[in-house]
């Protein structure tokens, strides 16, 4: 399946025109730098996981760097992003401080979700990352509703909602796309097709493996783009976002690869030896870097400088996370309810519902009465 995914990717786009070279080259270098940031951040996260500094599940964006970079570059700062549990790269490119992203992985108070969410549940209202969500498909109805709220208020922001290829099989996908199209909501659904839902291929999970074609069921414009080419992804995303801003929701399929297992602990044994070998030569950063080098946009020195700068950022993030305090147990009941409510249970395991009665009942009261 992964090889099919690769075949579906188009050839990398032509190099940028010479006349726009200055600005364009700067953007290309920024794309490359951001891809390297995601790569090195995720490698550091994997190491921290192996060192037991990160718990739970930890899903990485390795292989999806170009997709993340291209998509995020198409959004305004005020647009909203809903995504799933594979979201560290998205958090970084929404502009959230890498220190806070790493601190969330470490479960510390300075994390983007104050240590309450972990790897799967990053959130930052300021940067309009409206959540990584851990239940497959759960973010789609929410994103649709956020678009409804924008429409309700007459705003011109857009919601971008990413999902995996496996998510195209879940009921919430159908319900959300139908509602979005029916109500002309400003939302772009983006399928990040890395060819595998955990270990299940698209061919084994979707009767229509050309996932972008599902848009037709809702009369929703749709397209497929090569997820190894950040420029192509950006251009496709800009077109999708523009459509959504005009009240025409859009379905974009970004074909990419997942270079590692489903999560850090998955050795991906379901992959064939051929596929494993092929993936060693299928690296979006290497491909994009070679292209930019051939085009004269980057050279070895520039790449080394980017690597050094990013290494500094990632090391600082890990140091920051390690220094950030663990949340106090006293805060355990702080986030059950936004509106305080009487009789909210705030008991630790084993604590009694009621203070034990004096025994024999009444004795204490009587003697208290006498002494008073």
């Amino acid at each position: 399946m992964a090889s099919q995914a690769r075949q579906r990717r188009s050839a990398p786009q032509a190099p940028p025109a010479q006349d726009a070279a200055g600005e364009r080259d700067g953007q290309l270098r920024a794309f490359y730098r951001d891809m390297v940031l995601i790569r090195r951040f995720e490698e550091r996260a994997a190491r921290a996981y192996t060192d037991a500094l990160v718990g739970g599940y930890c899903h990485l964006n390795l292989g999806e760097e170009a997709a993340v970079v291209g998509l995020m570059s198409a959004l305004r700062p005020t647009d909203y992003l809903f995504t799933n549990y594979r979201e560290h790269g998205y958090a970084l490119l929404r502009g959230i401080d890498p220190n806070r992203v790493m601190a969330e992985l470490y479960g510390r108070v300075d994390g983007v979700s104050k240590g309450w969410g972990g790897s799967m549940h990053m959130f930052d209202m300021t940067h309009r990352l409206l959540g990584g969500y851990g239940i497959v498909g759960g973010q789609l109805p929410l994103a649709t509703g956020a678009a409804l709220a924008i429409d309700y208020r007459g705003g011109d922001d857009v919601v971008l909602c990413t999902l995996g290829d496996g998510t195209a099989a879940i009921g919430a996908f159908h319900e959300s796309l139908n509602i979005a199209a029916l109500w002309n909501l400003p939302v772009v659904f983006v399928i990040i097709n890395n060819g595998l839902g955990m270990g299940t291929t698209v061919a084994h999970s979707s009767a229509e493996p050309d996932l972008y074609k599902r848009g037709a069921a809702y009369r929703m414009a749709s397209a497929r783009v090569d997820g190894f080419d950040p420029v192509a992804v950006r251009e496709a995303a800009v077109k999708a976002v523009e459509a959504a801003r005009g009240g025409r929701p859009y379905l974009l399929e970004v074909v990419t690869e997942r270079l590692r297992g489903h999560s850090v602990v998955d050795p991906a044994k379901y992959r064939t030896a051929d596929e494993v070998e092929r993936l060693k030569h299928e690296d979006p950063i290497q491909i994009f870097g070679s292209k930019l080098t051939a085009d004269g946009v980057l050279d070895a020195d520039a790449i080394a400088a980017i690597e050094a700068e990013v290494a500094g950022v990632v090391t600082a993030a890990a140091d920051f996370a390690a220094r950030s305090p663990h949340p106090e147990v006293a805060t355990l009941f702080d986030y059950t309810y936004a509106t305080p409510v009487p009789n909210d249970s705030r008991r630790l395991p084993g604590q009694p519902l009621f203070e034990p009665l004096p025994f024999p009942a009444g004795t204490a009261a009587t003697s208290a009465g006498v002494s008073a």
């Binding site: 969410g117 549940h121 109805p141 929410l142 986030y335 309810y337 409510v341 009487p342």
Partner: protein
């Protein structure tokens, strides 16, 4: 004070809140053009337009989730699940999302959402349309669950639910829509998380919510007239949070309790109530806490079977008599011999 039905109280409160706050809007199946399966939203589409009274496709998960997403951006949606049975199609959105978002993201996003939905059997609707599964929601931290039994509480608790920043499951009941009562004219929200003693008494505490709180009041009045029994009635009103203190205070006075519920007995709301009383008033109990609940079967269609499965006034009176007999303060007497009004 105005006398009106439970249905009218809901309708008038929705309308008043929509007039008061532009962020309040309604979504659900058949709530607009059809005016609601139970006509709670009658006339509101005409008055407010389709932006604020939005008919949805039959997509409970989709529209519940859309309401949650809209709430995260600051709107205050009130959605109608045609019956609580259909809310199961939206369980992922309600339990995994609405109830989690505030905590999971460290308090950064609120979900001011109201899910209005009726429970209740007794309409010969069969197994899938006669369930009382409010427990599913009351089980989950992050949810608030209220269950008004009177028109006055329908108004006061709906006002509270709409103005609350957390997701609230607002339990209505098919059997209550046509009941009438006094409704205060004032804009006075109730406090979620508080039970109320709706009838003071000393002989036994009778506890219920939604339709069964109504049954409890009727039975208490009837046994007062027929037997001179002085029964205290507690209407839970809020299933999460549960007001255990009010229950325990009552039982400390009466020394006996019977819990009424329209859901199933095993693991039901009554089980939690009984356990709470046991924890808080163990030394005061003169008899085990009795529970009267629905028979544990998929609800049959045939009327005699359905009637047998639902808790009736006779079932309640029987449980009260047996409990008082166990206490030793009243001898059990057959229902037919004492002239109890049925």
């Amino acid at each position: 004070m105005t006398i009106m039905t439970y249905r009218q109280a809901l309708h008038d409160t929705l309308r008043a809140e929509m007039l008061r706050d532009e962020r309040v809007f309604l979504m659900g199946e058949e709530i607009g053009v059809f005016e609601g399966s139970y006509k709670i939203t009658a006339g509101l589409l005409k008055e407010f337009g389709d932006k604020r009274v939005r008919d949805t496709p039959i997509a409970e998960e989709g529209f519940a989730g859309a309401a949650i997403g809209a709430a995260m951006l600051g709107l205050r949606p009130v959605i109608e699940m045609m019956t609580i049975n259909f809310s199961m199609l939206a369980l992922d959105q309600i339990i995994n999302h609405a109830a989690k978002i505030y905590g999971m993201f460290g308090g950064q996003a609120r979900v001011p959402l109201v899910i209005r939905t009726p429970g209740g059997g007794g309409q010969q609707l069969g197994a899938t349309h006669s369930q009382n599964i409010e427990l599913f929601y009351a089980f989950v931290p992050g949810m608030k669950v209220v269950a008004p039994s009177t028109p006055a509480d329908a108004k006061a608790l709906l006002l509270a639910a709409i103005r609350d920043d957390d997701p609230v499951l607002f339990l209505e009941n098919l059997g209550l829509y046509n009941t009438k009562g006094d409704v205060p004219d004032a804009d006075a929200p109730a406090e979620i998380g508080r039970a109320s003693v709706t009838r003071p008494g000393n002989d036994l505490t009778l506890i219920g919510y939604s339709r069964m709180a109504h049954v409890a009041s009727e039975v208490a009045a009837s046994l007062a007239a027929s037997d001179g029994l002085d029964i205290e009635v507690v209407d839970l009103r809020s299933l999460r949070p549960l007001d255990r203190a009010t229950l325990v205070e009552s039982v400390k006075k009466t020394h006996a309790a019977v819990v009424l519920e329209d859901d199933w007995l095993t693991y039901g709301i009554g089980a939690e109530v009984a356990a709470s009383i046991s924890d808080g008033a163990f030394d005061y109990l003169d008899a085990p806490v009795r529970r009267v609940a629905m028979a544990e079967v998929p609800m049959p269609y045939a009327k005699p079977l359905e009637t047998a499965a639902l808790p009736s006034r006779d079932d309640v009176i029987g449980a009260i008599r047996q409990t008082l007999a166990a206490v030793g303060r009243r001898a059990p007497r057959p229902a037919a011999a004492n002239g109890v009004a049925q």
